[in-house]
């Protein structure tokens, strides 16, 4: 356990995340973990971390941290402009921070969530085998605050093999995600796939709420008995405006799930920001 980073500014929300707590749904504990797993994994790979290492998930940017020891870090996901001690640095690149240097993330021009991985991983105490903060259940470390000191684990054996990863950053324009018809597709009269939706400002890690022409329930179905939910499920509550569930979704729910986004595309959806348009494209098994 060594002091690694001191938080000087958090932006709107900064959380410790890893790959979550899979397999505990039966006891009411959701998986949680990084909302955009692909970007989180990439950040870990850049600094040669173990895949289970924890990173910092930064919503919209605005994070500022001071290195307390020499560190190797990488920022992926939403391309928040980054600088080290005032000098601009690359996105999805291996960065060296000397003890005392400050890394600052500006506001991301596209995408919603950036991931800051530190070689050695953020080493806060795990809860049920994970360091992820689950905003729904309250499990895991509290959100980062100014003055939070984050320990960093021992450096892994492997060394970074590339300086930079040539990855596409999240798109700013209309987004298309592939989805399959869900278990209760026949509970609504209208077609989720046939109309565009807009990501609502009421979205969070639990789910992206979608604004648009409401979907009407098929009459006379009554109430759906509660059933298990998955990451990527598109649920239609009584308002008719769908919710696309993300990392911290409830374990069970009582409204019909009319579509489920393909696992790979949930990461794209997790980068959609309020006001961005999203369409669902039907993927057949």
């Amino acid at each position: 356990m060594r002091a690694g980073l001191t938080v000087l500014a958090t932006g709107p929300l900064a959380l410790v995340q890893d790959r979550g707590r899979p397999g505990l749904g039966g006891t009411g504990v959701g998986c949680s973990g990084a909302a955009d797993r692909r970007s989180h994994d990439l950040a870990n790979r850049l600094v040669a971390n173990d895949p289970g290492a924890a990173s910092i998930e930064v919503t919209l940017g605005g994070l500022q941290v001071r290195a307390e020891v020499d560190l190797t870090v990488a920022v992926t996901g939403a391309p928040a402009p980054a600088d080290v001690a005032g000098t601009p640095v690359g996105h999805a690149a291996v960065l060296r921070l000397r003890a005392g240097q400050v890394l600052t993330l500006g506001w991301a021009p596209s995408g919603l969530r950036s991931y800051l991985a530190v070689r050695g991983g953020i080493d806060v105490a795990p809860v049920l085998g994970s360091r992820a903060t689950d905003v729904l259940s309250g499990l895991g470390p509290p959100p980062l605050a100014v003055g939070t000191v984050l320990p960093v684990g021992p450096a892994p054996h492997g060394a970074p093999v590339v300086d930079q990863a040539p990855v596409a950053v999240p798109a700013a324009g209309p987004l298309v995600v592939r989805a399959r018809r869900g278990p209760r597709a026949d509970w609504v009269r209208d077609d989720l796939f046939a109309r565009p939706w807009t990501i609502s400002s009421r979205s969070d890690r639990i789910g992206a709420r979608l604004d648009g022409a409401p979907l009407h329930p098929v009459e006379g179905r009554g109430e759906l008995p509660s059933e298990g939910l998955v990451r990527g499920a598109v649920q239609v509550p009584p308002s008719g405006e769908p919710v696309l569930f993300l990392a911290d979704h409830p374990v069970t729910g009582g409204y019909p799930v009319v579509a489920v986004v393909l696992d790979a595309d949930v990461d794209l959806a997790a980068q959609a920001r309020p006001g961005q348009q999203i369409r669902f494209q039907e993927a057949r098994p």
Binding site: G23, G26, T27, G28, L139, G182, P225, S226, E227, T252
Partner: protein, 210 residues
Amino acid sequence: MPEARVLPCGDTSLLLEVVDLDAVLAVAAAVEEVRAELALLDVVPGARTVLVTVEPGRALGPLGQRLQDLARTAPDAAAARHGDETRIEVVYDGPDLDEVAALTGLSRQQVVRAHTGTPWRIGFGGFAPGFVYLVDGDPRLAVPRRTESRTSVPAGSVGLAGAFSGIYPRASPGGWQLLGRTGAPLFDLDRDPPALLRTGGWVRFVAVLS
């Protein structure tokens, strides 16, 4: 002999739908038995369904077939009526006792006697870590949820909603009719497993004065 219908649920999950909660408990127990063998990531029972999740890239067709066969041969849940029984001590001074009495036509005392008179079966979880929907209690206690949700229900509150009873593991908003409170630690991170009440077991409520 539960018959399960396989419903689509994306590219990494299947939803097995069965006729009732008895069948859910039977199928969930059978699926848990093969969880490691079939490399299942998660198994989540619901009121009429069992959700099964696997790693991306798995072929779901054969898995669905296998789970259906498993369901068909699952021993009846009624045979599993010997699950662990957990005693939960309750102080019956809840704010909705009079309301529940009025809705059921029972006296306050009869409501308490009905709630403690028969064991409740643990159905399925959700809502919060450690929360379970309790079923198969006294049918006279079926009451609608409150018309207005409370903004905060204290941890340990014991309530009724529909045919269910349940205990709030932590303070949260909620619309259940509250009968009383318990100090039972429903979810304790320092305990293995952390959840006190688990699918397939039973709960016996016991009235205490404080």
